[in-house]
Symmetry: C2
C-alpha cells in the first residue's frame, strides 16, 4: 500500500492543476491518469481546435479585405502537415506537463483508477489487473468527460465520428454533417468549411449556440450562412448511421441528409463508469455526474472537480475548482466555492465571448433587467480587421452589470477585460476615471457599457 | 459677441470629448477647429495607420504559417484602393463626429482661434480676418500638436516627408528612410516594409522605442531585423534633404544614406504659436507646451488638455483629461488630476503594449524593484497565431505591480486586461480567485504575474 496525502484521479486541466498546487505546497500527491496528461482539452479538445483554426485564420481576414476591394490573396493549408504540427505540439505539451508534475514531486500512475473506499484507490492496468493500491487522506475525482452519445446518435467511428475521430481524420471530407451547434460543433464547422468541406450544421434547439443570447445566436446564424454554411435549427435527428461508406442523417420529419462524414457533438457525458464513487460515500446524479456540495465535496474529504461534477464543462472552470479544492485541503480557503462570473469563448472566423449571465438567465434570477449594446462597426480596430460585423451586449440587473457578451471577429480577445470590468463594476463614476487605450477593440466595451439601456420584459 | 459657458479650442480627441460631455450636461459650448474634426488621431494619425496596418496584417500570419510549413499564401494590396478606403473612413468619421456634436448642441466654428483675454476668443478666417468674437466663462485649450522639425531635420515635402505627407503619398516608395523609431516611425516602417519598400530605420537613442523597456526594445530589434528591416540605433542625423529627387540622410559620423523618400518622425511640437496663451494668464514652457497645474489649469478657469499640455501625447490621455476637466467645470470632480496607470500600444506585425511603469521608471521612483516574465511560446493561442515570439514582463515595486509590458504578435489585445489587473492589483490571494478563460492569449498575463521575480539593481 502506497501512502499519500492526496490521491487525484485524472490528469486533465483540473487534476494536473490540483496536483501542482498541492505538491508545490509540500503535500505527497498521487495522480492517476489512464490516457494522456492534459486531458481532453490539451489532447483532443480546445488546444488542437485552436491550432487548426489558427492555420485558416488569415482566410477570413483576406475575405474581408477582398470584399472591401483593397486586397486579393490566397491561403493553401497543407492538412497533413497541420495535423502533424498539432500532434507535435500537444504531445510535447503533455510530456512537458508530466515532467513539471514529476519535478514538483507528484507520483504519476498510469492506469484506470477505482475507488475501493473513502481512503483507498486501486490502479488497474489495461488487463484490469491491480497494478497498485494507493491510500490517501483525500481523494480528488477529476476524471473528466467524453463525447455523449444517444440512441440513434452514436458514433460508429466509420462515417459517423466523435470529435476525437474528426481531429484525427486522414483527409478533409468533401462534405461534413455536424449534429450539435455548441462550441465544438461550431468550431469544427468553421475549420472544415475553411478547408473546403461542404458543411451542414444541424441543431435540435431553436438557435445555434443554445446556451448563448438569442439575438447573438440569430446574428451569428445570419453571418455564418453568408460564409457558405448550411444551418438547420429546431430540427431533431432520428438516426445517424453509415450507409455505403457515407453518413446518413434521418431527421424526425423524415428528411434525409447525406455527407462524406458526420460529427456527433451533442454534449458530454461524465467518466464515472466503474470509478467506484459510491464506495467513497459519494453519489451520482441521473446523468452520471458526481454530486457535490457547496465545498465541491462528494463526501467528507472527497472532492470532485471539473467536467465530472457537471457544474461547468470548461477547462478553466476545472482549473479554478482545482485551485479552490487544493487551497481548502491546505487550509487556505474555507468558504463555499464561488466561481465568480464565468468566462467562455467560441473560436473561429466569427467568435463569441461571454462573461456572466445572458439576459434570459438574469431575468430568470429576478430583478429589473436591461440591456445596452454597441455595434463593432463604429470601432476603428474592428474596421482595420477587415470585417466589423457583430456587437457587444451588456446585461444589467438592478443597475449592476450582470453579463457581457460579444459576437464578431477577434472578440475572444475581449473576454478577460470584460470579466474584469464586470467584476469591478466599471460603470458610471468608476468608468469615468478609467483610461481606455485608443484605438483598441477593447473600446467597444466602453461603448456598450455607456450606451442607453433598454428594459427587458 | 457670442456668449458661451465654455469655449473649446481644437476639435481633436480631447476637445471633442470635452464638448460632448459639457453640451450633454446642458452647457452652452463653442468649439473652434481650424482643420478637421477628430484631429491628428482620426485624420492623419492613429486611425489611418491602423487601417493601413490592418490591410497587410494577414501577411505576417501567412509568413508564420509558411515558416512552420503548414501553409502557403499570398496577399496583394491595392495601395490606391486602400488609401481611398482610409480617406472614406476618416472623412465619414469626422463628419459623423461633427453631426454628433451639433446634435448635442455644440456650436462649431471653423477657423483659427486666438485668445484675447481670459474670457474672449477671436476666430480668424483664412485671410486672418476676425470672423467671430466669442466670450466664455471657461476656455479649454486643446489645440494639439504637429510633427516636430529640427534644424537639418525639416520636411521639405518633396522627398523629405512628415507623417501626413507619407500617409498621402501617391505610390509605395521603392525605398524609405525613417528617422525616429517611436510608435509613428515603427508603425510606418512595418506598413511600408510589408508593401514592398526597402526600409531603413534610424534612431538617435541607443534603442528602438526609446521610452520602452530596454529588454523589450532589444528583442524587438532582433525580431524586426528578421523581417528585413535595416535598423540603426545610437546614430544621429546631421542633415536630411532632397537631392536630385531623392532623400539623402547624412549621419554625424559622415555616412550617407539615400532613399526614394524619407520620413521625419522625431517627436511632436505643440500648436501654441499665435494661440494667445499669455493673454489668458497662462504660460508656455521652453518647448512651447502650455503649462498646467495639478487641476490641468493654466490660469483660473482656463484649462489645457491633450498634446498641447505636453503631459502624455496620446489620444486617449487627451480624452481622459477632457472628461476630468469637463466634470470639474460641471462641479462633479474636485480632486487633482490623476491619470492612473497609462496604457499605450505600438501596432504592426509585431506589437508592443504597456501599462504603467518600465523597470527603469519604477527604479527611478525608489523602492525595491523586481521583474517577472513569461514567454509567449508557452501560450496556445500565441502558437495558433503562427509566431509565438515575444514575452510579457511585469514590473514590481515594493511587492505591488507597477507596470506590465508585452512584445509579440497581437499583444495590443492585452492592454485593457493588463491595465485592469494592475489597477486591481490582481496577484497572490486575489489572483487565485480569478478565473482566466482557457485557452486565451490573456493567460500569458497570469503566467507573467505568477512567474518568479528577479530583483532589479
Amino acid at each position: 500500500m502506497n501512502q499519500f496525502d492526496v490521491i487525484i484521479i485524472g490528469g486533465g486541466p483540473g487534476g494536473s492543476k490540483a496536483a501542482s498546487v498541492l505538491a508545490g505546497a509540500g503535500r505527497k500527491v498521487a495522480l492517476v491518469e489512464d490516457r494522456h496528461l492534459g486531458g481532453v482539452c490539451l489532447n483532443c479538445g480546445c488546444i488542437p481546435t485552436k491550432l487548426l483554426l489558427g492555420a485558416v485564420a488569415p482566410r477570413g481576414h483576406i475575405r474581408g479585405l477582398e470584399r472591401q476591394r483593397i486586397a486579393t490573396g490566397s491561403l493553401t493549408v497543407n492538412y497533413t502537415a497541420l495535423q502533424k504540427r498539432v500532434q507535435r505540439f500537444t504531445g510535447a505539451s503533455s510530456q512537458a506537463l508530466g515532467k513539471a508534475l514529476q519535478g514538483a514531486g507528484v507520483q504519476i500512475y498510469s492506469g484506470r483508477a477505482v475507488c475501493r473506499d473513502a481512503r483507498t484507490v486501486a490502479v488497474l492496468d489495461t488487463d484490469g489487473q491491480t497494478a497498485a493500491m494507493l491510500s490517501g487522506n483525500h481523494i480528488i475525482l477529476a476524471s473528466g468527460s467524453r463525447s455523449a452519445a444517444f440512441p440513434g446518435l452514436t458514433p460508429d467511428h466509420d462515417a459517423v465520428l466523435d470529435s476525437t475521430d474528426l481531429l484525427n481524420i486522414a483527409a478533409v471530407p468533401e462534405s461534413l454533417l455536424i449534429v450539435g451547434a455548441g462550441a465544438i460543433g461550431l468550431e469544427m464547422a468553421d475549420f472544415f468549411s475553411a478547408m473546403g468541406s461542404t458543411v451542414t450544421v444541424v441543431e435540435a434547439a431553436p438557435q445555434l449556440a443554445p446556451t448563448e443570447d438569442e439575438d447573438l445566436a440569430r446574428e451569428m446564424e445570419k453571418l455564418l450562412r453568408k460564409t457558405g454554411l448550411t444551418i438547420l435549427t429546431g430540427v431533431r435527428a432520428a438516426s445517424l448511421l453509415t450507409r455505403d461508406g457515407q453518413a446518413v442523417l434521418t431527421l424526425e420529419d423524415g428528411r434525409e441528409l447525406c455527407a462524406t462524414k458526420a460529427l456527433v457533438a451533442v454534449g458530454r457525458t461524465p467518466n464515472t463508469d466503474g470509478l467506484g464513487v459510491a464506495s467513497t460515500g459519494g453519489s451520482l446524479d441521473r446523468r452520471g455526474f458526481v454530486q457535490t456540495d457547496d465545498y465541491l465535496q462528494t463526501a467528507p474529504g472527497i472532492f470532485a472537480i471539473g467536467d465530472v461534477n457537471g457544474r461547468t464543462l470548461l477547462a478553466h472552470a476545472a482549473e479554478h475548482q482545482a485551485v479552490y479544492v487544493a487551497r481548502q485541503i491546505l487550509g487556505l480557503d474555507s468558504g463555499a466555492y464561488d466561481p465568480g462570473p464565468i468566462p467562455s469563448c467560441i473560436y473561429g472566423s466569427l467568435e463569441v465571448m461571454r462573461v456572466g449571465l445572458t439576459a434570459r438567465e438574469a431575468k430568470a434570477g429576478g430583478g429589473e433587467v436591461a440591456v445596452s449594446r454597441a455595434p463593432l462597426i463604429a470601432n476603428a480596430i474592428a474596421q482595420a480587421g477587415g470585417d466589423p460585423a457583430g456587437f457587444v451586449k451588456v446585461v444589467w440587473r438592478d443597475g449592476r452589470m450582470a453579463g457581457i457578451a460579444a459576437l464578431g471577429h477577434h472578440v475572444s480577445h475581449l473576454v478577460t477585460a470584460a470579466q474584469l470590468l464586470l467584476l469591478g463594476q466599471y460603470h458610471g463614476e468608476r468608468l469615468h476615471h478609467f483610461m481606455f487605450a485608443h484605438p483598441t477593440l477593447d473600446e467597444i466595451l466602453h461603448a456598450a457599457i455607456t450606451a442607453s439601456r433598454e428594459a427587458v420584459d
